[in-house]
Symmetry: C2
Subunit: 109 residues, 2 copies
Amino acid sequence: MGLAKTEMFTDLQNEIALFAKAFGHPARVAILQHLFKLNSCVCGDLVNEIGLAQPTISQHLKELKLLGLIKGNVEGTSVCYCINSDNWTIMKEVMSRFLDQDLSKADCC
Amino acid sequence: MGLAKTEMFTDLQNEIALFAKAFGHPARVAILQHLFKLNSCVCGDLVNEIGLAQPTISQHLKELKLLGLIKGNVEGTSVCYCINSDNWTIMKEVMSRFLDQDLSKADCC
DNA sequence: ACTATTAATCGTAATATTGCAATAAAGTAA
DNA sequence: TTACTTTATTGCAATATTACGATTAATAGT
């Protein structure tokens, strides 16, 4: 079916899954790493840096923007993208709480 | 095409994406949370806890096991699953390095 | 107005993921 | 052995994701 039954999970579980899905493709990881490295970046630079076609990059940027992890600003004919630090921090806290669970009683089988 | 062109990305980018994909579905998030809460769990308990069919849970468990995030041990007719703390720690470090990048120069557009 | 540049959108093809019924496998107990 | 319990596997249908060519905006420069 390919359809995640979101209604049977908690809001937190769905939120974690949504954030994680954003990082679930190497192109989006590469885009975010590039934005961190350069602090800001126009879409065209990403097309050159990463080897994907312009519509593909544009689509990945749209998803990241929709999630709020990046911002985009029109500058003439090009569009400047950068990390949205407020939302990135929120996301980081949600993910960290999930990743930093107590491991002291793991490995029990 | 639905095919991630892994060869055009770095090993780290692909690794981050693979780990993130594991958390990219609320059912797998729920399974992992449950394993952390109870320290160990038989598959049947997860089927009851989460509202998905047994083959579906079994499939999600298989993916998590393949990635190394959980272990499974046969105990009679049932199978006990638990977190693999070594691999979880490795994954956590990879993800943390990605999430904890410098935000001081973000929001520039 | 015309042209060039850049990014977004549309349409579509290919592949991946999710979910489950049916079945198989593996163990336990009588 | 037979019946029972539990989990894995298979096969398949439905949906999601990824990628890109073609096209469409939107802006800038002439």
